[in-house]
Symmetry: D2
Amino acid sequence: MGMIGGGIDSFIGDVHRKAAGIDGMIELVCGAFSSSEEKSKRSGKALFLPENRCYGTFEEMILKEKELPEGERMDFIAIVTPNHMHFAPAKLGLENGFHVVCDKPMTLTIEEGIELESLVKKTGLLFALTHNYPGSPMVKQARAMIANNELGKIRKVQVQYLQGWLATSIEKTGQKQASWRVDPTKSGVGGALGDIGTHAENLVEYITGIQIQEIAADLGRFGEGRVLDDDGNILLRLENGAKGTMSFSQIATGEENNLAIKVYGERGSLAWCQENPNQLITKWLDKPIITYTPNGNNLYKEALEASRIPAGHPEGYLEAFATIYKNFAIHLNAKLTNQDIEVPDYPKVSDGIRGVKFIHAAVESDKNNAAWVKLNSTI
Amino acid sequence: MGMIGGGIDSFIGDVHRKAAGIDGMIELVCGAFSSSEEKSKRSGKALFLPENRCYGTFEEMILKEKELPEGERMDFIAIVTPNHMHFAPAKLGLENGFHVVCDKPMTLTIEEGIELESLVKKTGLLFALTHNYPGSPMVKQARAMIANNELGKIRKVQVQYLQGWLATSIEKTGQKQASWRVDPTKSGVGGALGDIGTHAENLVEYITGIQIQEIAADLGRFGEGRVLDDDGNILLRLENGAKGTMSFSQIATGEENNLAIKVYGERGSLAWCQENPNQLITKWLDKPIITYTPNGNNLYKEALEASRIPAGHPEGYLEAFATIYKNFAIHLNAKLTNQDIEVPDYPKVSDGIRGVKFIHAAVESDKNNAAWVKLNSTI
Amino acid sequence: MGMIGGGIDSFIGDVHRKAAGIDGMIELVCGAFSSSEEKSKRSGKALFLPENRCYGTFEEMILKEKELPEGERMDFIAIVTPNHMHFAPAKLGLENGFHVVCDKPMTLTIEEGIELESLVKKTGLLFALTHNYPGSPMVKQARAMIANNELGKIRKVQVQYLQGWLATSIEKTGQKQASWRVDPTKSGVGGALGDIGTHAENLVEYITGIQIQEIAADLGRFGEGRVLDDDGNILLRLENGAKGTMSFSQIATGEENNLAIKVYGERGSLAWCQENPNQLITKWLDKPIITYTPNGNNLYKEALEASRIPAGHPEGYLEAFATIYKNFAIHLNAKLTNQDIEVPDYPKVSDGIRGVKFIHAAVESDKNNAAWVKLNSTI
Amino acid sequence: MGMIGGGIDSFIGDVHRKAAGIDGMIELVCGAFSSSEEKSKRSGKALFLPENRCYGTFEEMILKEKELPEGERMDFIAIVTPNHMHFAPAKLGLENGFHVVCDKPMTLTIEEGIELESLVKKTGLLFALTHNYPGSPMVKQARAMIANNELGKIRKVQVQYLQGWLATSIEKTGQKQASWRVDPTKSGVGGALGDIGTHAENLVEYITGIQIQEIAADLGRFGEGRVLDDDGNILLRLENGAKGTMSFSQIATGEENNLAIKVYGERGSLAWCQENPNQLITKWLDKPIITYTPNGNNLYKEALEASRIPAGHPEGYLEAFATIYKNFAIHLNAKLTNQDIEVPDYPKVSDGIRGVKFIHAAVESDKNNAAWVKLNSTI
């Protein structure tokens, strides 16, 4: 793995490294950790990398690594930069034969997304998008239950992703995470929308297996002087006729990372919450409440495979994140060794395009006073 | 108290009687429990009422009770009939000098609501609307915290009221509760909207002290052949600029009576859930999570007064309902005895009109594909 | 119902009146509410009783009511006095033909308990002990599940009853509830032991259907100058070989009324907590977690009968208490009308004796440095 | 790090490797993973170790690694074998200049524990015992709150550690984890007592900062034919006069890994549960309930330092475990580089002796029908 972005003072870079490392399948071998070469080398040194594998730019890294012998050079790049710096390194990586792991939202524009998708198809290279929540065992159980029609036809969805860390104008204090997220040149047209709304969108489609057809979005800009949304309320209509709501916010004072989803079908329903990820609560027409736990009784194979330790030993955010990397690594390893195996799922370039379409549809809807916009009409 | 509707096989009639009785301030003295005189008398007998105080129609009850000497005749009527039977007895009661307790939604039309409001003003009689959830101690604490500006300016609201009992077409099995609720001649233009959506609307306005300005509503009719909504998703905009979502449903399979609200202000937020009513969870910019409990530490007077028993002894649905009756009775008693006291709050005719406006705004919005409709524009 | 004790400033008197009243089967007709006749009459007046039915002593009440014509006189007495005042009125009541409802612990001594039991047997009168927690629907479900062998042989029990209201020496401030509870002349040999430990003991035996065989008790007296225990930790051995712990306290700072029990059998286990009474959580060898709710799916008849309102509408402490009165009233009514019906359960004189034996065994064990004492060896 | 035990089919070996790896401070360089040399090499290969660093015995590993040049040879050994195989490698490692990380319970006998302690003192080498739960941020917050006297004098403790995985006789099916744990030649005199009871004992002493003075233990052997305890109920008396209970079990059907503790002081109390580790609930004489979360508001430095990711992103079992390794590594690194820093805490050889004393005291008490035994009297 060669990392782009994620210097030593970065939150998400450290998360990616820990997540990639947990299962012992991936090794960090090089990085372009910062746009400053000196800072990149300093980060690399702290990570025990040799100096000559610490690059000053992603272009340098991709082109120099390409020259290294197979087995020594990095197998894939992991892009952990702010949003506006996803597309260029992803494109260059793919064009030079490297598999890609990319943070979300995938690109600033739908066109960029489609270009990446074409490149992935053309090159046959792997592309993973780090929506981490589908890596949680109970999310996998939820998806499997619906895929196996336990809930009956899905009618209703409620999803929320609530944070409070932008409740005050901390971007004005120089807080690094906040600064780029409220800046449209770095975040794109969506603020909280792109940062967390896309996780909510992805979770709906991943768990239900049904695409969101159209949305009516009312975005808020509560922080003084903010150009981008820091809050949003959205009506959802799904392809199969289900309806629902999405609410996301970074000004929901006191909330930490409250991503939660409820899905209602004709026979049963389920509820999952990221802050308490080790239970999946299901309610039924004709049965009492049934709660599943990781590595507990009566789970689908997909859920069992996503747990590392025995029931009752909680896994958390990093482990779910790690499962994305692990499944990508399993796929990559099978590909590199020409094995024909059943590959466990992880988010791909197509999921990235869904997210970008969602962002653009929401922004368009909001501009039109929450008029309905179809996700597939946005280009 | 003289009851209209609520015969012995009625769910809500029994609830009203238990709620009115808990605090020992109200006595049932007569009733027109059913449109069948025989059934009304049978109900009255089971309730230990003398036969001559069990009437065949509400008109008979109101007019005959009026003839009884003061002290013997009922002081007020309690209307617990289906929606279409609220207006006529309320009007006749007021016109004949009786105070009124009325179930929600108050009337089928806004015009009827306004007519009742005029009558209340003209006669000076009391009118209570039995939105029961404002009777809960932790709802009162929530309201007091916001009224005292603990949370700062309110920015975001999420409210849901989820039930699953209409997930299947039980109205076709002759289930009495279901039959009238899906019938527009009895329920009015709103189905779940009137039955539970109005509770959610009322809770938002009661807790925040801010009116809902406009809504964009997407209603669902999932049960086969249903004319009225059995599900709804609504975007909210409040008078002060806050935004939010409302989701209500009677097809949310497995849900029992899941009314829950979250309110976010600039400095803090709060969350309350009816199914676990004895805690109020608050989250803050700069403090850890603080959870209040009935009769626990650091409560506002309004919350303390709404508890009957020591901390840790859970009160429930009936007790909250009883507090509406109790506060109405305190008001009535003060009025009858010419005492000038500080009257604790209970929902009134103005709250009833808000509910009816909400129903009509939502139906209009839904007809126009979830276009925004102002609540005060609906007449 | 004629009440002994429970004047208007009493906590438990009000609870008994509300609980007795909820289901509309019991009417308060007279009372000896206080040892002061004046105060008794004042209490009675506030309760809308005629002055001549407000008595100055329980002896007067029992003897005068006995003279009244059947139908007019009270059917039973409800004893809601401090512990030392249970035996005498219960005995006199039984001797004069009145059924009895009595608060717990039943008597100060085992001998008194046995005397009451003999009187009950001899007279054929009914005797209810107001252990209220067995009135909770989910407690009834727990009992029924074990009675129907769903859990397999019971192996382990954990029960706790934790309060914090005596964490400081509030008895020195004149707080009325505290004063008599720390006074051995009024409470008997047990402090917290009698007040709440007996509830825990009763709950174990009620839910499991198995008697506690022997105990090893380590009692604490943490409040300065307290003679009676305000805390206790007890090892339990049950008749069937199961083992367990009991912990009770009134100095568990911050706890409100945290009575909770867990029972483990060979195939499954269950957990119930009084502060969140509307769920029963069960865990299994080979099934996921299953949570039952009042009036929810798949309940035993005993649990369904103990609910008043639909699923999701929480019932609380008063309703559970009311179920004891309701079941007693059903029994009494059947007896008075010579009906042969299946009587729902409520705690009886035999449960009272168990509680008193438990208190005395714990005190004896504690005196011997937590040596094992058999409950049936205590007399 | 050189690992002793923990071959590729071992549960706890994998946990140790993941935990040691998360923070990027520790590298596995060699191992004696199995008593079979072939299996040891196979494990090492799967872990990407060179064959010549995979040893057939721990003696070989310690002696050969000692010969390697500094910088290349392992810095410390991690002992992850069954209980009876802790002492010998720990002793040999210390005697040959290697620091030691050792699983719990530390040794089979108190004498062995004391011998290790002497060796640690004599050599000045570091010794970490992997009680992992003190690594949890909220456990650190709990300890800091008590150390800073927020709760006042501690009066009462309740601790439980409940599992159900030995509810049936799975040792007879050849299940590897179960087989050695029920075998006294491998586990020592304690079964569940040593395996999980010691975690409970350690947690009490770590959080309160107070030693357990004496215990009265009633152990159970519910599984057919079991020689060692699979269940235990214990009365606790602490050095400062506090009292309490401990309950542990591996036959608590349906429980997964339910370690939970409650501590009551004169002014406040706290509760923590391993299965939901990311909250610490505190209750108070005169304040509402206050809940702390990792990286949330108002935490002590010790709690903040033990979190890796932002508030609301749950960390779990592996991360707590990793904190033990991290703090040990910080200490080791400071020692190796002669830095004088404030070393964060981790369990040490003295904690190991406490655990072994606890096991022996409990066994002795149980043999004497739960008579009190002082922990410091056991040798």
